[in-house]
Amino acid sequence: MMLLNPAIMALVMVSAVVCLMMLLASGFAVRVLLRWDINSGSERQLRLERRTYLISTLLIWAFSFQLMSLMLFIYNAESMSGQFVGAMCATGVLNVNAWGWPTLFLKMGVFFSGTVWIALNYLDNQGYDYPLIRYKYLLLLAVLPLAVTEFILQLLYFTNMDPDVITSCCGTLFSSQSEGVAAEISGLPPSSMSLGFAFTGVMVISSGVWVALRGRNGWLFALLSGIAFIVALMSIVSFISLYIYEHPHHHCPFCILKSGHDYVGYILYVPLFIATALALSVGAVSPWRGISSLTPTIESIVPRLSWIAVLFFALFYLVATWSVWTSHLTMMEVWW
């Protein structure tokens, strides 16, 4: 019955379409991996070269749809909170059964792999001899299972929604007394968490600036950004949200998206996601400097992408610091 909700129909449809597009592309990817020979002038090679245009367009669209479906998924969870006993925001709805959270994480995973793929694809198209074509289609074959699993999990999640089940709201899920990953994260000591947050922030921004200036070692920036991303999400649950809600026990990562808190969640999450996606792309792009047909492109885009990523990271850390700074909540005596 839940499947008749329009937003759910849209989500299932989008995932199905994305999977279909990726399956189509993967069929092509296998052919490229086996048959691609840039030096051959055969009919088959010509057909393959022509088809690359179609496949990259398909995939760029598929990954953009995936991004939109990630946002729709969270919006939808938020709006369905009225239909479940005990749910007060997206947390409760994601918690209705075991598939909610894994679906969300997989959607995020597909989104980040998608941006990396698009960056590789852009780079590859800049070289006249398609030097990266095998790598990018290998990457695609690696992403495909993620997308298919995401589709299946999402379907399981929506079909197993039972409106009679009493789910737990963010207040109980993210409390340090209960058990589970969410509780573990919110139970992390805020004092060391905030130090870690500041440390990863400084590390990721300085590595970004270094990569932007020197134009090499992009992998370091990507690695640090991945760590910073995870630490940032954990910090939001562990202490930043407390300051935004001005409440010492409210850890929810979704309620900050609501109007009651000036939509500050958007100014936190959007820059964080953009910055991480860009930094990961820098990491994916910069190792290919040695390939002569790509060198000029890499030399021009690595600093550019890095600067933009640094900018967004800085924005994220500024907004986070600002919301802690201006908050009326004081935890000075409690945590330190």
């Binding site: 008749l4 909700n5 329009p6 937003a7 849209a10 379409v17 729709l72 938020e78 239909q83």
Partner: protein, 377 residues
């Protein structure tokens, strides 16, 4: 960056002029596309607004309604149940309500009759909703006669009409004094239709309801949150049903878009051939076609959405009304409060623009890879 933007600007410029050169074809596609968006958007806007309205309405209603059951049916509840409940922690206020339905053969419709609550209405006067006033042709100062249970006729003077802002709920409403109510329906003192309890803290509602069922086993508590939840699912379910019905037209539209994009005229084929001959690359042609799709999609989305907005909020959604809100003789005439949100827009986008984009990717690619010499020959 500037170079990139300028390039896109020239591409859009070219696309617009090429679309205008083929007016009939572009306008046909635009019309069908807008129609699809219009239908989907009407359904969405209307059901969202109704859901919103129901939520707003119920906001003022008490948290718990307590009904006595007799053989599985709703029965009158004695006044001393109020005493038996006694002091429940968390309950702010509790009182009995009197209400019922009155069938008026003259207009073949049911009125909802309630007692005036705190503000005591005089014994012989009533307040009626605008729906009743319209159906019977009544105004303030006129008399309305109701036949009581034992055949007596009671005349009431209409002292006021209910505000038409609340017409969605009050169209068929008739308010009278509790005394008059007991006389008309022959209900002895000491019985109420049901009891209402207001609970200050929303988290205590379930506990209070549990205590009530233990204390008074022959009653059933109805929670406001449950009612809201039901409304929420029912409206999105009805909307979903309409969407499923509209899937047929979406599919037809997909086929139409596919066909339009792949069945290029000789003229257009030549155009692409010439573009490639003067130095455009395959990627450029695809980019141009991308902008073409974007321009058509956004225009159609805007036209369809605005038309649907007008249809729902100015014309009361005359096309879908019966399906989505049900029907009755004394049906309220009301204007919905406009309500737009991101989820709604995103869902609509996925149902209209996404199918179009997916349907045109392959045809566009096919036209873009054409060899100039093969096309122009």
């Amino acid at each position: 960056m500037l170079y990139f933007l300028r390039k896109q600007k020239y591409l859009i410029d070219y696309t617009l002029s090429s679309l205008l050169r083929r007016k009939a074809k572009s306008l046909g596609l635009l019309a069908v596309y807008s129609m699809i968006v219009f239908m989907l958007a009407s359904v969405t806007l209307f059901s969202h607004a109704l859901r919103n309205e129901a939520g707003l309405m119920l906001q003022a209603s008490p948290e718990i309604i307590l009904q006595r059951m007799e053989a599985g049916r709703h029965a009158m509840i004695p006044t001393d149940y109020l005493q038996r409940i006694g002091q429940l922690r968390g309950v702010k206020q509790k009182e009995g309500r009197l209400w019922g339905y009155y069938y008026d053969p003259a207009v073949k419709a049911n009125y909802t009759i309630m007692t005036g609550g705190q503000s005591e209405t005089p014994l012989t006067s009533i307040i009626i909703g605008t729906g009743i006033a319209r159906a019977r042709g009544l105004d303030v100062g006129d008399y309305l006669t109701l036949r009581s249970q034992n055949g007596e006729a009671f005349s009431f003077q209409i002292s006021a009409l209910l505000d038409d802002k609340s017409e969605l709920v009050s169209a068929d409403l008739l308010l009278m004094s509790p005394k008059a109510f007991r006389r008309v329906f022959n209900i002895p003192e000491g019985l109420y239709t049901d009891l209402v309890l207001s609970v200050r803290n929303p988290r205590e509602v379930i506990t209070v309801a549990e205590k009530l069922t233990q204390l008074l086993p022959d009653t059933r508590p109805i929670l406001r949150d449950e009612v809201l939840r039901t409304y929420d699912s029912v409206f999105s379910w009805r909307q979903g049903i309409l969407f499923v019905l509209l899937t047929g037209s979406i599919l037809a539209f997909v086929i139409f878009a596919w066909d339009k994009a792949s069945g290029l005229s000789a003229e257009e084929r030549r155009e692409i051939g010439i573009l490639k001959a003067v130095g455009w690359e395959t990627a450029d042609v695809m980019r141009m076609k991308f902008w073409e799709g974007m321009i058509i999609s956004l225009t159609a989305f805007l036209i369809g959405y605005l038309a649907a907005y007008a249809h729902v909020f100015f014309a009361s959604a005359s096309l879908f009304e019966p399906v989505l809100k049900g029907w009755a003789v004394l049906y309220p005439q009301f204007r919905l409060t406009p309500f737009v949100d991101g989820l709604q827009l995103a869902t609509l986008f996925f149902f209209s623009v996404l199918p179009y984009i997916v349907a045109t990717i392959i045809p566009i690619w096919r036209t873009s890879i054409a060899d100039p010499d093969a096309v122009m020959r």
